[in-house]
Symmetry: C2
Subunit: 559 residues, 2 copies
Amino acid sequence: MCINLFSDVKLSSKWWGWGDASRSYDLETRPKFFKFLKEKLEITGEIIQQPVSLDSVKVSGTRVEEAFARRLVSIFGENNVRLDDRERFLHSFGKGYLDLICAWNGAPSSVPDVVVYPTSESQIEQLFGESAHWSFVVVPYGGATSVVGGVESRTRDAKPVVCLDFRLMNRVLEVDARSLLAKVQPGCLGPELERELNGAGVTLGHFPQSFEYSSVGGWVATRSAGYESTRYGKIEEMVESLRLVTPEGVIETPLVPASATGPNLLQILVGSEGTIGVITSVTLKLRKAPQSRSYVGVLFKTFTDGIEAVREMMQKEIVPNVVRLSDPNETRASLALASQNGGSLVEKVGTWYLARRGYFGSQGVVMILAFEGSPEWVDFERRRALATCRSFSGFSAGSGPGRTWYRERFDLPYLRDKLMGMGVLADTLETATTWSRLPGLHSKIMEAFSGAFQELHVPGYAMAHISHEYRTGASLYFTFMAKQLAGREEEEWRLIKNRVTDVIVNAGASLSHHHGVGVEHVKWMEQYYGPLGIRVLKAIKHELDPATIMNPDKLLPAS
Amino acid sequence: MCINLFSDVKLSSKWWGWGDASRSYDLETRPKFFKFLKEKLEITGEIIQQPVSLDSVKVSGTRVEEAFARRLVSIFGENNVRLDDRERFLHSFGKGYLDLICAWNGAPSSVPDVVVYPTSESQIEQLFGESAHWSFVVVPYGGATSVVGGVESRTRDAKPVVCLDFRLMNRVLEVDARSLLAKVQPGCLGPELERELNGAGVTLGHFPQSFEYSSVGGWVATRSAGYESTRYGKIEEMVESLRLVTPEGVIETPLVPASATGPNLLQILVGSEGTIGVITSVTLKLRKAPQSRSYVGVLFKTFTDGIEAVREMMQKEIVPNVVRLSDPNETRASLALASQNGGSLVEKVGTWYLARRGYFGSQGVVMILAFEGSPEWVDFERRRALATCRSFSGFSAGSGPGRTWYRERFDLPYLRDKLMGMGVLADTLETATTWSRLPGLHSKIMEAFSGAFQELHVPGYAMAHISHEYRTGASLYFTFMAKQLAGREEEEWRLIKNRVTDVIVNAGASLSHHHGVGVEHVKWMEQYYGPLGIRVLKAIKHELDPATIMNPDKLLPAS
């Protein structure tokens, strides 16, 4: 079994950054991007820092008493209880910018005291049973790709932290092809899931940016969204039923397509971020695997034209799988990032011709559309979508930009690691609001970024796209970069994050559309849901976790 | 203002049955139906009973003390506080079969002690404030079309019941046409809402059977479904945000299209059936009003063929607005109900021809399809749907059956009133399950009906249709009729209801897909959600209504 454990698996992966150590984001073939970065961020482009060596990392000793450790071994088996420093260190952070800082410095804010790998639900029930005899808290751990501190090993009253890593509970238990349902264990990662489903001619259709490394349990616990959510919905719409083990016992929601039986129990458990129990299985709604796929890039003269085109598509109930509209800043960054290896927007359509027609002015923007389904549906929907775009002067730039986006869709986190080496803060944040409020919110957030960069006296760059669209509104997804303030990295990041998030919450927009709450968004939760709303969520937590052993400091403000 | 009050409005409506006193279900033009009824239910077809006269009704005196009544008048205004017997009697039942029995006998199980008509949210907050000084419970009252006892005036510890009738809070407050959102007060009835929305070129698209008399607040409080839910979703998917006044204060959920911020607070409040507070406004997601509409009837040789055709449509993501597939029993009853005034299935396609081809054997069934949207979408989707039906030997019977269904879609409750006069028990119940379980569940429920009729020694008839379809399953909607057992009407109904609902819940199917829980489904709730699930719902209730003044006996089993 050892081969499945974290340190063995993950050392082939890049513990101090994103993904696979053998992969990286190729900047060498993108010379224009260096020029862009140097100009916007006043950096040299040289590598100025590296992560510490894993061997040099020192972590605080475990607080687990020997007798409790023996009990854990008797529950989970010797190989599946890990107390060694390396294992504990490797379980101490997610993939947010602050996590990266901690990882590069070899200095996580806290580490778990023991890592256990359950192989069955009954082991987890036994663990909760031990809380009568031993003091501890539990932090559930899936793919650990949280960017909001969702897996941080926070404790309460200095109790030992038991990190529950679901890596060994990763099976697809059952596929009901007649009902398009699959019952899956929480530790199943995206590629493992899709490989098995595709073999049966079906798909879940959930492809978050983290897809290659994130887990089913994590998706469901955090209300994740994939890049096809415009058509297929967020993960909470893909769950038919789930099973949750709480310190007070097991809840399994009825396996029904819909019901009218009071508050939606399923939607109380989805999004609970490990604060009331752990998910031990999820029954997911599937789709037939698509037979046909089509991409197209569309240029607009202004962001406003693009927004109106998206809004009209949604409101005419034209629903491509992907609609991703970059703002002017992101469009310029994308053009700068275009590889010289072909496939770029610029090469596919004559830049000069389009510039003359007003598509490459400073206000020009690009939209990526993707369609997946039966060939006749793809044709029909693509035709309707493009007709709508044309009515807002959208210029179809062919399939090149879309293919490029699709090929590189999981690669951008690798770029962040490279930028980190060059002394660049790079992170993302996201929200969602109604169409009426969206343009104003975009402007206010861009101003907040500028204001924060000025306040910090650092050169910075922010950009956004609209994705995950609805009839009533859409998500706004921001990427921001700034020259790092050496030694003050956390302070720098927090100031930017605070300034922008205040604007989001004050505008009545979503505190998070799909990253979740974790520890980083907790301080806005009361403003977001109101004091009485928070009381409701705390009452649920108190009922299921009266001894407060589940995932401390996540989701809800302390009482 | 008096003109808006219940007794003034509703006396033009039929207090002892469904809808408008000037409308009725015309059986005279449907002579075959009498034959059918006589044969199946062994009744004569003569009118054997009538409702009591309203003037002869006696109700128990109000328990409201004079000082409390004066306080209510100071809050709501003199005209909007009604203590008279007639008003209280008219607020004492909904539209379920047991309600009808009570109404016809003039003997409701309980009556409210006072009926108040709030005109603002602050009046409701003031009322809750009075609970510090006076003992009372509150029963929210919208269109009162509940068929599960949702408006019954139950009390707790003999406290006076304050019935809150939302008839005067019925305005569309705001339409945001850019975001396709409308903010609406809870007392707005279906036709009032659609009239106003249609004027702005939009629609909600929610058309439950009760549409003409039910209210927005009631829909949202009970997770209602309309006949177009297959395409447009249930009401819970049409709510962007809502505002709820609870005894502990106001909760308003964020106005956002989606979020990843913990348990879904909105979906905790939706479906709460007035047990934690009252809805004072709902922001609803709209659609552009459809430009084109098309209906088609399709015949199948067997129910199994029809089910497979529906399942395949859903799983190919072909989504008509309406897919309504009758089982063999309902198909035969529909044929018997066909009017001689034309438009019937039989006249449109030669019965003889179809019978020869196997479509009118005892196993033959009919499906109604409806499509609404842009002309090009209607054409496209209709073509795809019919191609799928043909692959299961579906025979298109043209637009006649669909038009008939559409014309009479709100009329069937009127038929129940007529049948009641003839001494017939007629009621409906519904569930939902996955496609794998659906055929077996249909058989088991039909057996349970037969068993119950036998146990009671009454002639009876049960029939069903599949509607409200999903990729993973569908709703099964049953209509059942039996010869009434005079003097034992409630016992007769309860035995049938219990036998069938036990089968539903034991099979893991939905306790209700869209009727709600009310008082009638409470006893199955713990089995349905499990003891720990019920504890979660009770914890929410306790947090928002610690003095348990809201809607006693509804939704949750007593502690």
